[in-house]
Amino acid sequence: MSYQLTIEPLGQTIEVEEGQNLLDAALRAGIWLPHACCHGLCATCKVQITDGEVDLGEASPFALMDFERDENKCLACCATPLSDVTIEADIDDDPDAEIHPVQDFTGTVVKLVDLTPTAKGVFIELDGDGLCFQAGHYINLHLPDIAQPRAFSLANSPSQPRLIELNIRRVPGGEATGYIHDRLQVGDRLELAGPYGRFFVRHSAPESLLFLAGGTGLSSPKSMILDRLEQGDTRPIVLVYGARHRAELYYHELFQDLAARYPNFSYVPALSEPEAGDAWEGATGFVHEVAKAHFDNDFRGHKAYLCGPPVMIDACITTLMQGRLFERDIYMEKFISAADAAQTARKSPLFRSI
């Protein structure tokens, strides 16, 4: 049987399977906790239990001292829950993060749009009052006859809680995206759950906003930018948005229009391989290259939000850091799948959140 683990100061609650340790459960749910050795020796993952009971596992007596056991501390990497548990971890709770309880929803597909030859816009009208979320959150979408739900970022502004928009790229051979592209019809009923995620705009920080997006990674930035402009944010906001060629660049007119209406918003589209018929006059190159040229290799004074394929994210982080913007000012959308968790051995502990 599984237990509920609540992680303070985030206030987020996740499931822990029988025999699963707290650290593993948190990491798999996309919540980073401090950790290093992962086998009870180094004490980096020490957390305070504020409610519930755990089995302390193989915590070394030198890493978890007797007086700490008396104070109800445990090492997250080897503690397993014996009841529902609440812990307080040494992580920073952000005043700008909104916590919305996860709920189940049912809705009707009201519109399907071919955004590009490979990406579809799916508009779902939800029953009831709709989904309260923060721009940057995602939902888990259930599809008929497909066992596991799939995660998709919300592309609409939070001001439209009843009509949600998802932008879905066809993954070659993908079961779920294949279903959406080939079989989903207007009028179909769908179930979904949300909101999830910890990707959001640090709107109380004074820095300017920079969005770097590639492909269907545009969903969250679109929602975030619409939200900021609706909220009357007057700081400079720049979107650098990249696609391969003109046909893959969607919502081009929407962002051109926003840039014309809002003097603080700049839109920098980039094509990496423009085709002959594109008559492209904008920037040519990958997102990180175009961003570097646009900012003359100096990103200081920004908060950067990154969304897109892993290679793009990777290249953008390097470009930002070489342009003097570091981890504390870089945020990205992260889904930690089982495959990602298996790859963590190759990651060094130099960076916490990127």
Partner: protein, 504 residues
């Protein structure tokens, strides 16, 4: 109800106001060493404390660790724990580790006290102060272990004296002195980053699991007790590097040069560990080659992939370390076997089973290059001529290791590198050591090289017995082959006595 403070805020409340703006003196006079290395810090406030530990909590932790550790050491002593180790031969690995590393930990203690005083930032000061106290604690616990083993085995009796004189102990000694005589930023890069973060796993993990494997619970407990501190030290190493690289782009080339230098210095120092892992443990945990692949090539590779974002590349000559992994431990052990009459621990030839293990772990090098040499020495020993090299080796001017490493394209040809400085010729074991010298020749021309000192007449005399006497090394007891050692005779007698006790 007000929202409870998170841990960061609580920590800030506990530690704020430790830093104040001085009014009697300008900061440049209070922290005079902070600029000469060229590192530019724009804002010390951006230092992120990698662990939020107050001094009050620190004492509580350390006090409990001490209580537990000494309980184990006491019970080890009272129960004659030394009789439960696999074999008295294992103690030779301990002799090398405890006499080589304990004084180095004391040097680290002094170094962190100095740099903690040199840094203007409160976060860095507190981190260095705690590490200085940790290092002092480590020396003390190791001295207690030395004290116990010294009652039963030879070679431990005068480790402080030997540390200043004996030829191979000058390798760790000069390594730490090099770091201590650098500026504060280079010291902390050398020790916290290159040594603690990149290389300590290689010192600790295989050695401590080796100790556990070989029944040495005193060392294992010391290891656990120290490892809980090491995690903090390693985190400090990462924070220091990130902090310097983020503060100013001009810092990047300076830090890269330090990483190049201290990677190579640390790697050369670890050749002693390589030999311990492959030759000195009766029960082996993993080969040096496997450890280097896991801890440096994989873990270190991942680290340098991340550091590449700052414009930092892999340390210069890392490829050489990878090429050398098939040879390093064998060449080092063969050299100690040659000079076993001048070492304060025993040496020996691996037996048939051990050679089979070495051949399996080193299929590309052992049978071809090293087994024939060992079989020759074993035959000589059986004929009553245990080989001891009567000459003295040339030492590398930088790392002070005898010039024993070979060209990787031709493992019979020793690498000789040399350079001239002010009309004198200086010799090196590798391009890595030569580069380090050439960047700061004024520093390394002052090196106290044990062999050169003997030839100059500063070490008690011109003959081996005179030099050993000057080392306080007891000829015939502390040195020479394990086969004929007092340690081995005693061990066999103790084992026989205890088996008789069991049968009666």
């Amino acid at each position: 109800m007000a929202k409870p403070m998170n841990m960061r805020d609580k920590y800030n409340r506990m530690t704020r106001d430790l830093g104040w703006e001085p009014s009697y003196q300008p900061k440049s006079k209070i922290y005079p060493q902070i600029e000469f290395e060229g590192i530019k810090i724009e804002n010390w406030e951006q230092w992120e404390d990698p662990f939020r530990l107050t001094m009050d909590a620190y004492w509580k932790y350390q006090a409990e660790k001490e209580r537990k550790l000494y309980a184990v050491i006491d019970s080890f002593a009272q129960n004659n724990g030394q009789l439960n180790i696999t074999d008295a031969r294992y103690v030779n690995a301990l002799k090398l580790f405890l006499t080589g590393i304990s004084p180095a930990e004391y040097s680290a203690h002094r170094g962190f006290s100095m740099v903690g005083r040199a840094f203007p930032g409160v976060g860095a000061q507190v981190a260095c102060q705690m590490q200085a106290v940790d290092e002092l604690r480590h020396v003390q616990t190791q001295v207690h272990t030395i004290s116990h083993y010294n009652k039963y085995f030879n070679g431990f009796q005068d480790f402080r004296h030997m540390h200043d004189r004996v030829w191979y102990l000058s390798v760790p000694k000069s390594f730490f002195e090099d770091a201590q005589t650098a500026g504060p930023f280079e010291f902390i890069t050398a020790i916290s980053f290159s040594f603690e973060y990149v290389l300590t796993n290689l010192l600790f993990m295989p050695f401590m699991s080796g100790a556990a494997f070989n029944g040495d619970m005193a060392t294992v407990t010391f290891g656990f007790s120290a490892q809980s501190d090491e995690a903090r030290h390693m985190t400090l190493g990462l924070e220091v590097i990130k902090f310097m690289l983020q503060q100013h782009p001009d810092n990047v080339p300076i830090v890269q040069r330090w990483i190049d230098k201290w990677f190579w210095r640390g790697y050369r120092l670890l050749s002693l560990v390589a030999m311990m892992m492959d030759y000195m443990l009766p029960k082996r945990v993993m080969s040096w080659k496997e450890a280097w692949e896991m801890y440096f090539e994989q873990n270190g590779g991942a680290l340098f992939e991340d550091l590449a974002r700052y414009g930092i590349r892999m340390p210069k000559y890392w490829e050489v370390s990878v090429q050398e992994k098939d040879h390093l431990s064998h060449q080092t052990w063969a050299t100690f076997y040659n000079y076993g009459h001048a070492a304060a621990f025993h040496t020996w030839m691996p037996d048939a089973e051990e050679m089979a293990w070495l051949a399996a772990k080193y299929p590309d090098s052992f049978d071809r290059w090293y087994r024939p040499r060992y079989e020759h020495w074993i035959a000589q020993e059986k004929a009553g001529h245990r080989f001891y090299n009567p000459s003295l080796p040339m030492l590398c001017q930088t790392c002070q290791i005898p010039m024993l490493y070979t060209d990787m394209d031709d493992p019979t040809q020793v690498v000789y590198r040399s350079t001239e400085y002010q009309g004198e010729k200086y010799h090196f074991c590798s391009d890595g050591c030569k580069d380090i010298f050439e960047h700061e020749p004024e520093k390394y021309v002052q090196a106290w090289l044990p062999v050169n000192q003997i030839y100059q007449g500063h070490c008690g005399g011109a003959t081996v017995p005179e030099v050993l006497n000057w080392y306080h090394l007891r000829d015939g007891q502390d040195n020479r082959d394990y086969l004929y050692s007092e340690d081995r005779q005693n061990w066999l007698r103790w084992k026989e006595a205890s088996s008789q006790l069991e049968t009666t």
